[in-house]
């Protein structure tokens, strides 16, 4: 395979650097938590390595016995994306669980606040009696 022309190499290096700067900016502004940024930083570093090391992909493909080097990119990329999606689902489930717990707490607290604001109703006295027993 012919080596890549220098222009596309420049493009990819600059693109990767912009991407890294973008991620860094998100973290600084507090819009992206560090634990999620980790995977993107690793991604950017890998991109950067292959942008600089021009023959890298071809050599690794040959080493692994992959006939068509771009297929290796797709394989790796899809694998990484699936892993990250599973990770996001886990995070999502955790959030859902937290929301449920919080909703329960809020509902019970809301009731207690209401009870304090309007004392002396029939239900209230009923409940106080039952609390005593």
């Amino acid at each position: 395979m012919q080596s890549l022309p220098i222009t596309i190499q420049l493009f990819s290096i600059v693109g990767t650097l912009i991407f890294m700067a973008f991620i860094a900016r998100l973290i600084v502004r507090g819009k992206l938590r560090e634990e999620y940024s980790f995977v993107w930083i690793v991604c950017a570093i890998i991109l950067l390595v292959f942008s600089v090391w021009r023959d890298g992909l071809t050599q690794i493909s040959r080493l692994l016995g992959v006939f068509y080097p771009p297929a290796l990119i797709f394989l790796m990329a899809i694998f990484a994306i699936i892993c990250f999606l599973v990770h996001l689902s886990v995070v999502n489930s955790k959030l859902q669980h937290s929301i449920k717990e919080l909703t329960h707490e809020i509902a019970i607290l809301k009731k207690e606040v209401m009870d304090m604001q309007t004392p002396g109703t029939m239900v209230q006295t009923n409940e106080k009696q039952s609390n005593l027993t």
Partner: protein
């Protein structure tokens, strides 16, 4: 019998037309049998006037700020029962399909300490509303699944008309399935070695609101509950 304190949890989602009748029914049973009983309506973030109706009724109420579905809604009620030290918690749906006369049948085995969980079943005496054909097939399937996993036969495993004693309240306070919790909870109870008991009750067709399960969701329901049941089984098998 009167010393045990009962909390009736009524989960509500858009039940403005039926919830008042349900609460009044429970009240009637309470005065007739002289029970030490409180009614707790849990409003699952209804989009209609359910909350306004509930405020006018003589009952306790919780108002969930986020819609959680029936499982999360019931767990809010059970948590409340746990914290306030109730001895028994009963679920009666807010759509009027569980006539409150059945309540006393559900409570008696708990008062006598014959069971930890009592489930009202519409199939034991085959009276009243028997549910639709498709749903009966589903119920039959869950019966088979329950027999397979916990070796116990529950005829009406999707029945939401059930009563728990303190031991069970402590368990559901910690974990209760989210969506369509009824069949899954039975496996959970079986694996916690709770004594399950089914009593025959009458059920009616819902008076208001819409079923939590439409035609389109039936297949999803089947898969979700099967998966949930299997995972609960795997998780709890060791205890």
């Amino acid at each position: 019998m009167k010393s045990l304190r009962v909390l009736v949890v009524v989960p509500c989602y858009n039940e403005q037309r039926s919830v008042a009748a349900v609460v009044n029914d429970i009240h009637w049973v309470k005065t007739r049998f002289g029970l030490s009983l409180d009614t707790l309506v849990v409003n699952d973030c209804s989009t209609d006037n359910t909350m306004a109706v509930v405020r006018t009724l003589d009952c306790l109420h919780l108002d969930l700020p986020v819609n959680l579905g029936i499982g999360g809604c019931m767990q809010a009620g059970y948590k409340y029962a746990y914290r306030k030290g109730y001895d028994i918690a009963v679920q009666i749906d807010g759509d009027g399909q569980h006539p409150a006369e059945g309540l006393i049948k559900l409570l008696r085995p708990l008062f006598d300490d014959q069971a930890d969980v009592v489930i009202g079943s519409r199939f034991l005496e085959r009276q009243g509303f028997q549910s639709s054909f498709v749903r009966r097939i589903g119920i039959r399937y869950f019966r088979w699944l329950n027999q397979l996993l916990i070796r116990k036969t529950v005829h009406d495993s999707t029945s939401g008309f059930r009563a728990f004693n303190r031991k069970t309240i402590e368990i559901v306070n910690r974990y209760y399935p989210d969506e369509y919790p009824e069949p899954e909870a039975i496996v959970q109870f079986g694996l916690h070695k709770l004594r399950l008991l089914e009593v025959p009750v009458l059920m009616e067709e819902r008076q208001g609101g819409t079923s939590s399960i439409g035609w389109v969701q039936s297949v999803y329901y089947l898969f979700k509950v099967t998966l949930g049941t299997l995972f609960v089984y795997i998780r709890l098998r060791k205890i």
